[in-house]
């Protein structure tokens, strides 16, 4: 089935975006990203470790010519920090597609929406293509879309919590109103969560901990790949209506 995900004019066959944090090694990370069938991986920007120049480098394992790098602003708590980080990311990598997240506090890592909107406007004015991590508030999601974000990425639940899609009604409202891709970012814990997000009509799912913190990350990555495909196909197929009472699957005529 030819059903690409189009973000900022570029076409992707996979609807699963994976992170590159929390893995036992960059090698395991690369293996998991391949098992997930991911084409886009999120990456962070940090200071070069001056005391150990021989430290393993992400780019040697999860290679930028194999995966589309999506630089994030994880750890940024103000619009100014996020904009500064992504300008450096553009200089380091040379690409404009970025994931913006501006967080409110360490305990919840919940997005700070006024700062997120401010950063999105500054980045878009500076030529970035902004995929934006946001709350599941449809009003703010609309404001971010109107500001020019190329993908709206509401949380299913808190980052790293694995609680799944806590507010499917709001996710559905965002899906219905959006003309850019909606990608659930954060909260997925297991395969059924990813399938639920896709059955709600989301265009994709972004996850990190659900794969990295599984006992077998490679197997979970494969499970997530199938869950996203299954959820997408179920959404496109259109589910049967729910009924209060039974409806026999075998014909009643000819009963003995």
């Amino acid at each position: 089935m030819n059903d690409p995900l189009i973000i900022a004019g570029k076409s992707y066959a996979s609807r699963l975006i994976v992170g590159t944090g929390k893995y036992a090694s960059y090698q395991q990370n690369a293996d998991a990203a391949r098992a997930a069938g991911a084409e886009i991986v999120t990456v962070a920007l940090r200071r070069v470790n001056l005391s150990n120049p021989d430290e393993e480098r992400l780019t040697d394992f999860v290679k930028p010519d194999e995966f589309t790098y999506l630089p994030n602003t994880a750890g940024c708590f103000t619009a100014d920090e996020a904009v500064r980080t992504l300008r450096l990311a553009r200089e380091a990598g040379g690409w404009n597609l970025v994931k913006l997240e501006v967080l409110a506090d360490q305990k919840t890592l919940y997005p700070n929406m006024p700062e997120t909107l401010k950063a999105a406007e500054a980045l878009i004015a500076d030529g970035f293509e902004v995929m934006v991590y946001c709350s599941d508030d449809p009003v703010y999601a609309k404001m971010l879309e109107e500001a020019g974000c190329c993908a709206i990425m509401p949380l299913g639940s808190l980052i790293g919590s694995g609680l799944g899609i806590m507010n499917p009604v709001n996710i559905r409202l965002i899906v219905e109103q959006s003309r850019v891709p909606v990608i659930v970012d954060a909260g997925v814990g297991t395969a059924s969560d990813a399938a639920i997000a896709m059955e709600l009509g989301c265009d994709g799912v972004l996850m990190n901990t659900a794969i990295a913190a599984a006992k077998d990350p490679i197997l979970m990555a494969s499970a997530m790949k199938h869950a996203v495909i299954a959820g997408r196909e179920a959404y496109l197929a259109g589910r049967m209506p729910k009924k209060m009472y039974a409806d026999p699957s075998s014909p009643l005529a000819g009963l003995i």
Partner: protein, 70 residues
């Protein structure tokens, strides 16, 4: 003269360029500087200007690269 490099104080020779600094911290085996970005006093120094940008006493330099992240 003294600069602050990724938050640490460093002594460097006068006349050191950004390109020389990158080479210095990339290790003796000459690892390439692709995927690295340089910020000098909160302003990005584009790769095309690494060789021509001479560091000054008191400069605050950030050298960053991509790492794993969610």
């Amino acid at each position: 003269m003294t600069i602050t490099l990724n938050g640490e104080t460093r002594e460097i020779q006068p006349g050191t360029t950004v390109a020389m600094l990158v080479a210095l911290i990339s290790g003796a085996e000459g690892r390439d500087s692709r995927g690295v970005a340089i910020e000098r006093n909160l302003e990005i120094v584009p790769k095309s200007e690494h060789a021509s940008t001479i560091l000054e006493d008191g400069d605050r330099i950030e050298v960053v690269q991509f790492v794993g992240g969610g």
